[in-house]
Symmetry: C2
Subunit: 380 residues, 2 copies
């Protein structure tokens, strides 16, 4: 991607002035984060890091990403409904066995229970959702897993109650990583999953999003098995896949490890859970593979072909740093909305995008990426 802001990058004084204006505007528009020092308090806050300029994105790619989102919604649903596939895939990654509770009930109110962390720098993103719902007269209560295990309960119809109020929807903003679960939290999650409240996401949908499932989906015949008769959707999905390689014990895994050790710059080693920041590259990856290659532990990782986007220049704005024009790469995500009641599809659509951009820094001869900041696509 080229940029058309080149001339603005030259004039440092103008760049600083634009940066000051942009930061004040971002703050005033609510692009906020709590501080690292005080993640439980809104006494002082800061802005979410962002790019001073939008980044150029080819129209065709943006349209492709939007178009394929509905296919991904269908695929994730198909995976989450396929208990056999999930169990087979994830048992190899050392998760426990899976039971999915299916139970429908109607609700006497429209209360949303937001499962929140105490330390939450990103609370303003959550508050925006609370405010949108409140404007539609839908109330949200924020509780921690600990509150659920102390004060949550089910009645004989598995209706969920919290502090005496019936809950219609449980929205998880905690519990995405194993490290976020104490024994007490697992019990609270179990209670929520057993209830007939709508879970966003339920445990099966959450597990469908693991890297291990992603890797399994790239194997020949898998999409055809999960989405029978939908050859066009499958073609659109497959066009977006990068190479993903299982490290399960066996010949296939041995071969993938051998390839990665031969050409480490072409691969990245990822733990099979969500959450970023745990990926291994270059020499670190080689050391990990050497350590893991004869152990069953290797099955909890996957190897991925490294995507090598063309870097471009942008100016990253972060609290405490002056405006920096650097070489960047971006990652585009599309939000999807999907509602199914029993066998009836109620809604399948996209709902906006998220472009995240990070500086590429050359370290140890490889490319180590910094933490991504918010960006906006400028379609060209």
């Amino acid at each position: 991607m080229a940029t058309s802001w080149g001339s603005l990058f030259q004039d440092e004084q103008q760049l600083e002035e634009l940066a000051r204006q942009a930061v004040d505007r971002a703050l005033a528009e609510g692009v906020l984060l709590r501080t690292k020092q005080e993640p439980s308090s809104s006494d002082v806050v800061s802005y979410a890091p962002f790019t001073l300029f939008p980044s150029l994105v080819p129209c065709a790619l943006l349209e492709q990403a939007y178009a394929v989102q509905m296919d991904f919604n269908l695929l994730v649903d198909a995976v989450s409904q396929n208990a056999v596939f999930l169990e087979q895939t994830l048992s190899r990654a050392r998760t426990g066995s899976l039971a999915v509770w299916g139970h429908l009930c109607s609700f006497s109110s429209a209360l949303v229970l937001l499962i929140a962390q105490e330390k939450e720098r990103n609370i303003f993103d959550q508050r925006a959702i609370e405010n949108e719902l409140l404007a539609r007269n839908i109330h949200v209560i924020r509780r921690r897993f600990e509150d659920v295990s102390e004060k949550g309960s089910l009645d004989q119809d598995r209706r969920l109650f919290m502090d005496g109020q019936e809950v219609a929807v449980v929205y998880f903003r905690d519990g995405y990583m194993p490290s976020q679960y104490s024994l007490q939290n697992w019990e609270a999650r179990l209670l929520l999953e057993r209830s007939c409240a709508v879970k966003c996401p339920d445990i099966a949908t959450q597990l469908a999003g693991t890297k291990k499932v992603q890797q399994e989906l790239s194997r020949a015949g898998m999409l055809e098995m999960l989405l029978p008769g939908q050859s066009e959707a499958i073609a659109r999905l497959r066009a977006t896949f990068a190479g993903l390689y299982s490290l399960d014990m066996g010949e296939e895994g041995d071969q993938a490890i051998a390839e990665a050790l031969t050409a480490p710059s072409r691969f990245v080693l990822k733990p099979q859970r969500e959450g970023g920041g745990n990926n291994l590259y270059g020499e670190e990856m080689v050391q990990a593979l050497e350590r893991l290659k004869d152990s069953e532990e290797r099955a909890s990782y996957i190897l991925m072909e490294k995507i090598e986007p063309e870097p471009f220049r942008n100016c990253l704005l972060r609290p405490g740093s002056s405006a920096r024009v650097v070489q960047c790469i971006s990652e585009l995500g599309i939000f999807g909305v999907y509602v199914r009641q029993g066998k009836t599809l109620v809604m399948n659509t996209h709902a906006g995008h998220l472009l995240r951009t990070k500086a590429i820094e050359h370290a140890d001869g490889g490319v180590a990426a910094g933490v991504a900041v918010l960006d906006n696509p400028y379609p060209v």
Copy 2:
């Protein structure tokens, strides 16, 4: 004023939860302040202190305040145009002599020069105005007095130029207190006043807002002299006046001082400039009057009958403090817009309100008021 939120004041846990929601909402809506520690930086910011609940204001009083605002606009304009009145009034308060420049010109652009302080906690209030103007394609440049003296200039038609750009409007957010003027700043102000740019406010309008002028306006016959033939406006204005007493040398001043020394709880002693926080009450006032009464310095103060509003309860929210339900008093201000070209009145209207509320704290047997926070009137 009574309140109808009484029941909410009882439940401390609910109050804390409401306070957290309100603070996050205020932050997300841009009710921001830079911190005391870093008033020149937007790296971390806080919220402007505010009341958790609106405060009850009788409809009739709110309407009266709005109705009289246009009269005040006319009065301030009349005072600012009356150089003789201003000079006579303010020379007794030891200001220099006054010359008002009148000069009209047309502008080739609509650039606004905002005179800003480097340390400005309240920048987000200013940015909101910048953004509103920018949405109308009117650009604002922020400069300090120091920048004006270094890079500002007038051409032979007294057009004002800043960094090579012609300025149509100068908007002062610095220079309201004598302490904000160095010699360099006075020279910059003089340059701006001499220019044909529209000043918001010009020096005469600014001087019309001093306490000394306010006191002079309360003297018999003054309103009639300034607004000839406008008896209805005068009646509306006078209905809002509290007792104001000159301390000029002479019998009238001696009598005012004697009254204040006899009944100190009924009076407050104010320096004749704007800016708050310098008022003297009770024993402090008595000591100051004893010290000043035989000195010409007393003319730079005025005595004011203390307004004794009925206290009411509200909950004040401030960064770093937990929600506090306290006895409060309020002050209502109405924003006015007034534009005149030569002798033609172009616009005279009101433009919203500002309700500020502060806790009353009982100290030294008197009432000392804390610093006011933002509030909203709830008309009843």
